[in-house]
Amino acid sequence: MNARAELPLHAPGTAVDKGYIGQSVPRPNAKRLLQGRGAYVDDLRFPQLAHVVFFRSPYAHARLKRLDLSRAAAQPGVIAVFDGRAVAQYCKPWVAVLGHLKGIKSPPQFAIAIERACCQGEAMAAIVAESRAQGEDALQLVEAEWEELPVVCDMEESLAGKYVIHPALGDNICFERKFSTDAVDAAFAKADVVAEETYTFGRHTGVTLESRSILADYNAAEQTLTVYQSTQAPHMMQDIFSRHLDIPEANVRVICKDVGGSFGIKVHVYPDEMATAAISVMLRRPVKFVADRLESFLTDIHAREHKARVRIACTKEGEILAFELWDLTAIGPYSVYPRTSGIEGNQVVNLTGGPYKHQQYRGQTQVVFTNKNVSCQYRGVGHPIAVALTEGIVDVAAEQLGLDPAEFRRRNLIPDDAYPYSFPSGLKFEQLSHHQSLDKLLALMDYAKLRTEQAALRKLGVYRGIGLAAMIEVTNPSPAFYGVGGARISAQDGATLRLDPTGMVTCLASVTEQGQGTEGVFAQIAASAVGVTIDKVRVITGDTGVTPYGGGTWASRGAGIGGEAVLQAGRALRSNILDVATHILGANRGELDIVGNEVVNRLSLESKLTLAELGRVAYFRPDTLPQKFQSELTVTRHYTPRDYGFTFTNGIQACLVEVDVETGFVKLLKHWCVEDCGTVINPMLVDEQLRGGIVQGIGAALFEECLYSEEGQLMNGSMVDYLVPLSAEMPDIVVAHVETPTKQSDLGAKGAGEAGTAGAPAAVMNAINDALRPFKARVTAQPATPQRILEALGKI
């Protein structure tokens, strides 16, 4: 007999009935999206809806000497015009710092900037009109006089501090962190081989296909604010709207219906969105702002933009002794609220060298202000940088040692039996599977055969390259990520499960759905835990007025944290259902179980009572139950990971490319990924999420870069000019798994959402450099454009 009840799903030596967990079940909620019947913010219709457009700074840094909105205000359809001071009456500014990022500093930021623009695109005034088109018409009539100020665009210039962007802060350094173990210099002194290289990473952005969208609806009679928002973290936003608009938290409700992609773009506080909410309060009517694509490029958070030097010390036997890192990154004029822009650099320091067993490590990051758009946490947060630095320099060292890159990695990856493990930067790893993953990858891709083929083709003038990238990833963060620093961001998530009278199970969960399949996997977990078929489960997410309190979607945490809450709630509901069944049937509770929507005899599986009948009795005829018995067919459970600061995952990717050494074009031939995200709840969903992540990582490696002029003007801020991967350039991507469940939870799931993006840029870069090896050329700048490749080859 299968044991369904209280064991962890990964309990050794026990055949636990996992139900739908591990099955590739199609997502129930995908059907509406397939018919164009989803509900994104811009699809909602409201009476009296007003539209807000923003007058944005054309300059990267300038003082607004005079602003005249009177002509705009007089245009047809214009309802109101506001400058920064007017909106500030209703919306308090914020300063994005956190207590655990020692020394981080940032100036106050207003919903609408007052007098000074610190980057191109910063909102300086708002025009509210009956239609978006009328608002944009009026925008043409805003009169502004500007005094241009010195522009700091280059991060090294910013660091040098010749011109300080925010004089009150004293310098341009937002945050710095230095870390060192005690014998780094000794390790480098005794090394037989030291390799060093400098890498640069372009700025890029998320390009969610649905742009940032918000519809704020203030009800003056109730003094309630209902915000329909395309966001990843509705409870965080509820708290922020409450505190900054001075409305009691209980009076703020944030609803996110369908969200058209997030990738970390939609987990931050944006000034124009705060202004929209404030204006709804000011005008006492619903107000909508949907960023158009040009605004998205200018104002959605950007990410990356690092210049980093990395050094590795090895023995001649091929043992890595130490890593050393100097990272410099630029974040625009403000640290982004409330998560701050110090996290990415901090992660680069935490994670560099991550998969390897060296004992000595020194790392530092400096995070500086510039007059470009703000940058902050985007999918992978620091990982793509750290993995590329690590895996790039590991390949250089392998070459100097005359070792095959796979073999060099095998000698240095942390052994699979070394856990729990403390990494020199202070990270704790519960259990990783680097060697198992490496072996699986090499077999999957037939590494040896590809190497033979590569050598044969080289003789024919065909330059193929194979790149490997091993990695670790932060998932399932505990309060150590944000909460300890004072951010009101929940590391805990919850789920409420209710048996309805018809035998249906309703699941309300605080993790949100951005398309990754939250609602689908929660339905799988709930159905499995309760004992119903998946068609009997409805999942509701994204409404602070309805769901338990929780963090939402970020840091690869939804399945691991929210899923465990659903599992525990499902088990509790099952137990409560069996209590009711015991009374109805007059049976011995131990004899009963729930299978296939029915209470059954645990041993014979003979049907005793349908859940629909049980629901009817519990809700409509409780008079037939014992007088002292109260059924509880709604239960709520929460889960917070606490044993480790983060539940690390590991994985390894490989990329096969062909470089045309005459044109510098890179053709991606194939990509492989072996990932260990613990319990795989739905292989099909995980695989496609990994592939999507890999493709975003490929975009970073080959195409995507926000290019700024020296004057701080974004030069490619449209979909025509900013290149993202399209289906024709992308290869087939083979995904496989090693499953090492986390023992912290009964579900055992770790995160998977960012792994693809974390590892792919390194794999692609290493593949290109492997292809260029015969020419002794290396590309160390991402994206590796044809121009950069030809420059590396000395052809231009």
Partner: protein, 171 residues
């Protein structure tokens, strides 16, 4: 037509326009500058075509006009006067692309779903005009539709599967 640019009041000139949308004839006074996507979304409440870029690149607003896949953001609504326009809602209700929708669902060839209506429109155009399309041709044809979530692999799989099953059905 008065072409005085920059003067807001002239922007609202309207034209009486009649078109057939998902088999139903509609007549509206349409602002001359309104593009077809906004007309479908704002005037008719057909929100399945999504405006992802409004400069003709992302493909999320793809609809069918007189049988051809068209970027709804690059065509003015008044240009559709006398035309037959089909949207994702119409194709869903008629059952014309039920097999594509089924394959996308089974293979999880969508995540956030914002690109999906346009993807399905383009896929249907490809399979209607080139039923023998191979994997690389599918990849090339679908390159007018951005997807930021999936990595495209499952989308290509789904279209390939439907191409094969339709070929099978024709035999």
């Amino acid at each position: 037509m008065n072409a005085t640019w920059g003067h807001a009041s002239n922007m609202d000139e309207t034209l009486l326009t009649t078109l057939t949308v998902n088999g139903r004839t509609v007549t509206r006074r349409i602002s001359a500058r309104q593009h077809l996507s906004d007309f479908l979304r704002d005037e008719l409440g057909l929100t399945g075509a999504h405006t992802g870029c409004e400069h003709g690149v992302c493909g999320a607003c793809t609809v069918r006009v007189d049988g051809l896949a068209v970027r709804g953001c690059l065509m003015l609504a008044v240009q559709a006067d006398g035309c037959k326009v089909d949207t994702i809602e119409g194709l869903s209700d008629s059952g014309e692309i039920a097999d594509l929708q089924g394959a996308f669902h089974r293979r999880n060839a969508l995540q956030c779903g914002f690109c999906t209506p346009g993807m399905l429109m383009s896929a249907q155009e490809l399979l209607s005009s080139r039923p023998d399309a191979k994997r690389d041709e599918i990849r090339a044809h679908m390159s007018g539709n951005y997807c930021r979530c999936t990595g495209y692999h499952a989308i290509v799989d789904a279209i390939e599967e439907v191409a094969a099953s339709r070929r099978e059905g024709r035999k």
